[in-house]
Amino acid sequence: MTTEILGVIITYALTLLLAWPLGKYIARVFKGERTWSDFMAPIERLFYKLSGINPKEEMNWKQHLKALLTINLVWFVYAFFALLFQDKLPLNPDGNPGQTPDLAFNTAISFVVNCNLQHYSGESGVTYFTQLFVLEFLHFVSAATGIASLIVVLKALKDKTTSKLGNFWDFFVKTITRILLPLAIVIAIILAFNGTPASYKGKDSYVSLQGDTVNVSRGPAAGMIAIKHLGTNGGGWFGANSAHPLENPNYITYITEMVAQVVLPIAMIFALGFFINRKKFAYVVFGVMTLGLLCLVIPTIITEIHGSPAIAHMGIAQPTGAMEGKEVRFGPAGSAYWSIVTTIISTGSVNAMHDSTMPLSGLMQMLGMMVNSFYGGCGVGFLNYYIYIVIAVFISGLMVGRTPEFMGHKLEAREIKIAALITLLSPFMILAGTALSSFILAHHPGADWAVKPSAWLNNPGYHGFSEMLYEYTSSNANNGSGFEGLGDNNIFWNVSTGFILILGRFLPIIGPVAIAGLMANKKFIPAAAGTLKTDSLTFGVMTFAVIIIINALSYFPALALGPIAEYFSMH
């Protein structure tokens, strides 16, 4: 057990060790300073030449959002049709069929928005072509979208008074060429050398000891698995995601994938400090986020190590902890750590089945997604955190007797309106979605649909409720992991989660960019002794309190009926 926990600590320490210089490097890239990756410049210039874009043209926040939304729409249309007609496209050695329209809608959306809900299984639901040129492509561009929008916000925070916030395409392309691509290549190589497939040959087969012939899906998977973590996407090559022995063969790949998924979210926080030149502020943000991680991960590890009380009641010892749904090569501590990391950042890849984790762990996983900013997804993590900051600044600004201001700009009704709307959005979508499915289950269980509502849930009662709550929470957080007991590949779930995915992705990007853009336009107010210091420990505690209170108040009743009720009925 000690070894397992040591493994977790080493993995986290390694992440920090890499995130620090990476953050420094990212800040340099976006400040336009010289870096080792300048050899990519000719490739970037080629892109701009082909597309007729001037990367030096300054944009205001509205132009940024217009560019972002337009290109995302283009990707969605492309992905939707490619998935629909994938059976007619090349690179389909396993002869997989095209997706149904509702599944293609859900899949396209969920990859565009960096969620990767995956209501299909990678082995049978997609082809090599769509895996590589649709899904893996979207892994890169959706992660870059998030980072580029963060840079827009940082640019707005950096300057005193400005409406010029850099060029979206410049940020976007640089994210891919200077950050994602080089790192993904390194990770893919490590994975490939450890046994992750990188082949175009289609299914392999072997004859088992029983004498059966077993077909084993393969494919050029290593690259996709690298970027799925690096870009906090989470959509894996195989259905079982990183629990699959080919997607995550051993402890080295475990550490690699673990570090890969959380290194960028942490590095972005450090980059923030270097970029806007407020390192202390970045440390406070990092501190609050890490505190959040610890609050979630420690109870989860303890619960999982202790094993299931239901099994203990039967008088069966569980020396290895709760092993249901877990891979022996990772163990309960490692899986618990993974399950929290993958939910607090928006990866959503899994190396164990969350459905089988203890109720308390499920609670922590859901909380991680509800907060969605303890590190958070690539770039968007800080955008979500920014909204919490706005509310914390507003309330604590009042508490020190000044009209609230953040980084030298006054926070007024318009910004509060936007922040309030975004805060409202998450509980609305998560609760309304779960309410809708609960209503249908309670009142129309036998509705004449392709999959009857009564057949949705693997488990009755509280756990079934958790499955639905988890699904909508995961969609809203653009996480993509699932409480896999849910029968979700049908019109109801594909469409309802699809819409939540779109809103849950773009509104929380639009909101912070708009607030930051509006604030940057205002007069700069130099800090004085009476100014609230946002880089202080006190303000960090305040932000943490705001995060906890908002989420606790929004979700307590729902969580009480799901994991909390399950927890108490087990003990």
Binding site: L398, A413, T434, S438, A529, K533, F539, P557, A560
Partner: protein, 682 residues
């Protein structure tokens, strides 16, 4: 102001406010406050449920008594919130009325005019009939019937009815002290006064209208907070509405009373109910400090002020310079020199002259006489003043360079030690006054600005509040610097002209700072208008009063400091009560959520950490706590949270600890106690 009533709830106001609390139940008035409006809707629903239970005798929604009680508590919640607003309004109004009362229905001697020509005829009319532009006459013993500006004459006036200050003040035509206020009393001399405002449009009338709510507009910060509170309310609407299908899934029936109680407890009713009271109380507190504010926004802005422009004279130093030392030149005896100085100043009416006599001492002065002497007044040309005695002796005192010239002209040299002393005095921030006898320099008098006692501490306090203080003075830079350092101000504008003030304000504003200043003269008006917070003295000209956004009835230049604190208190009270209100929800959840589900999910007894008696008692305790916390906090809302200048972070920690952590803990105790009581019945 005299008779300042500091009781929070005077009986006569309480009665009126209670009435108002019911009048304010009108939904058309309630909708201005979205949080309390939703509570009112909930109350109506509970009324219907109670009636339903009475009429049909069904108990599927709980007993009549239970539903009736919930209804009553909710109704009380709304009434308490209305009462908070009503009492704040009543207090503000009473305060303003007491100022206005002084001027009602006094006789006025109207001077009739034909065109531009004043007739000598005086007509006595009621003050209420005076119109803007009318001219009236006041004689000793008259109560001035209306606000106006003296157009002719000079008078000493007793303003104690307004300011509480018993010493009479001089007001005269033409200068910066030409305004008179209705209700004050003329003690000496005759003045002609032109009425400056239409009846019902004075600053006081405007302020009463602001307090009464007719023209009260929400301030930008109040709007922002209302938006935030409304969004919290929306979140809780979502939470409560979605709970229905969740409960259906869990096969748990939830009564309407439980739903509404949960909702009302969760939405920020505490701050929602007290928000407008806090704003009104801010204006009221300003009024109690004898400051009339022209808008609620002005008070709020005052809390944000970064830079304070203060006139040296009267604010930092006591009135005028005072003589502090006599330095005789070599060869002149000190006694002789003092005598000389005293003689030259005996009939000098300037404050400096008086202070010289004072310093010389009664013993010296009593032996002197200046019969038959001619006084030589100060002119800008000679820059000296003095006296020609009947025996032909000429004594002059004046600025060093002027006196040097005088001596040189008569062929005398100036003693070196005197010149040195002159330099030393100037360096120490004093003003040297060189004295010459028949054009021969005899020595130098040191005049010093006397810094008000306690002013350093006030500036220190301002610095801790993060406010930069700037001294404005006509003195030369050397003197200004000395006084600035001694008084502890952060910056100064020396040899200041009105346009320098304006330039300084604009410069600070372009750098993003908010500037407050106080002024009285017509030439201050542009700067008062430019400043973010401009406080005009009531004694100042009408132009200055129109330009500023506050009027100080006491004409007290240090009032700015109080105003800044009132502004900060206003914002802090909002912030802390918001925090308290939201922090309360944690305990309410732990009371109500188990109560909702315990019947069908016994396992959830685990989150009933307060061990409340029964679901009904838990819900009732939570709504009762939610209701009574409002009246309990009314005193805090009216008085404001105490402001301590300990730096922003320390202040945040302090308030977070008291109102955040306290806000989490208090309701746990409160609800438990109420439950212990209620459990005797339910």
């Amino acid at each position: 102001m005299k008779n300042k009533d500091n009781r929070l709830f005077p009986r006569e106001l309480v009665k009126e406010s209670l009435q108002q609390s019911f009048i304010k139940l009108n939904p058309r008035l309630m909708i201005k406050n979205p949080v309390m409006f939703t509570v009112e809707l909930g109350t109506i629903v509970m009324l219907i449920v109670t009636l339903y239970a009475i009429i049909t005798r069904h108990t599927d929604q709980g007993s009549v008594a239970y539903n009736g009680l919930v209804f009553l508590v909710l109704l009380l919640t709304v009434l308490f919130a209305n009462f908070a607003e009503a009492i704040a309004e009543a207090r503000g109004k009473a305060q303003a009325e007491s100022l206005r009362k002084t001027r009602e229905e006094t006789p006025a001697r109207l001077i009739r005019t034909i065109g531009e020509v004043f007739m000598n005829e005086v007509q006595v009319i009621s003050s209420a009939q005076l119109r803007k532009g009318d001219v009236f006459l006041c004689e000793p013993g008259d109560i001035i019937p209306a606000d106006g500006e003296i157009i002719e004459g000079l008078a000493s006036i007793d303003e104690s009815a307004i300011t509480g200050e018993s010493a009479p003040v001089i007001r005269e035509a033409g200068g910066d002290k030409s305004s008179v206020v209705g209700g004050t009393k003329v003690l000496s001399d005759r003045i002609k006064v032109q009425v400056s405002t239409e009846p019902g449009e004075s600053f006081l009338d405007k302020m009463i209208a602001l307090v009464e709510g007719a023209s009260r507009q929400k301030t930008p910060n109040e709007i922002a907070l209302t938006i935030l509170l409304a969004s919290f309310t929306l979140v809780f609407i979502i939470v409560c509405v979605t709970l229905k299908p969740f409960a259906d899934y869990a096969q748990t029936p939830i009564t309407i009373a439980a739903f509404i109680s949960l909702f009302v407890c969760l939405i920020p009713t505490t701050i929602g109910g007290l928000l407008s009271a806090i704003g009104i109380a801010g204006m009221d507190r300003a009024l109690r400090a004898n400051v009339i504010t022209k808008s609620g926004k002005a008070v709020e802005t005052a809390g944000d002020v970064d830079v304070l422009l203060l006139d040296k004279t009267g604010t930092i130093t006591i009135g005028n310079r005072k003589a502090t030392n006599f330095y005789a030149a070599n060869g002149v005896s000190k006694e002789e020199f003092i005598k000389l100085c005293a003689i030259s100043s005996l009939s000098d009416e300037t404050p400096e002259g008086k202070s010289i006599v004072e310093l010389a001492g009664k013993e010296v002065v009593s032996k002197l006489s200046v019969n038959g002497a001619t006084l030589v007044k100060f002119t800008a040309e000679t820059r000296s003043s003095g006296i020609d005695l009947s025996d032909g002796t000429r004594i002059r005192k004046g600025a060093s360079d002027a006196m040097q010239k005088l001596a040189a002209h008569a062929g005398h040299s100036v003693p070196a030690e005197t010149l040195e002393k002159v330099k030393a005095i100037a360096k120490d921030g004093g003003t040297p006054l060189v004295v010459a006898l028949n054009s021969q320099v005899q020595g130098v008098i040191e005049l010093q600005d006397i810094i008000k006692p306690g002013i350093q501490e006030r500036f220190d306090r301002l610095r801790k509040m993060g406010v930069k203080t700037v001294m404005v003075t006509g003195d030369n830079p050397l003197t200004a610097k000395y006084i600035a350092t001694k008084a502890g101000v952060d910056d100064f504008i020396a040899e200041a002209k009105p346009e320098d003030k304006m330039a300084y304000i604009k410069k600070e504003q372009t750098e993003g700072r908010l500037v407050a200043m106080m002024g009285d003269g017509t030439n201050d008006a542009p700067a008062l208008a430019q400043a973010d917070v401009g406080v005009a003295m009531n004694s100042g000209t009408q132009a200055a009063k129109e330009a500023g956004n506050m009027v100080d009835l006491d004409n007290d230049p240090t009032k700015l400091i109080e105003i800044v604190e009132i502004g900060k208190q206003l914002l802090m009270t909002r912030g802390t009560l918001t925090t308290f209100s939201i922090a309360n929800d944690v305990a309410k959840y732990f009371a109500i959520v188990p109560a909702l589900f315990i019947a069908s999910i016994p396992a959830l007894q685990g989150i009933n950490i307060m061990r409340l008696h029964s679901p009904e008692s838990a819900i009732l305790s939570a709504v009762i706590f939610n209701a009574i916390i409002i009246p309990l906090l009314i005193p805090l809302a009216l008085r404001g949270v105490a402001y301590k200048p300990i730096g922003a972070s320390a202040l945040l920690r302090r308030n977070l600890l008291i109102y955040g952590v306290g806000g989490v803990i208090v309701p746990f105790i409160g609800i438990k106690l109420i439950d212990l009581f209620i459990s005797m019945f339910f």
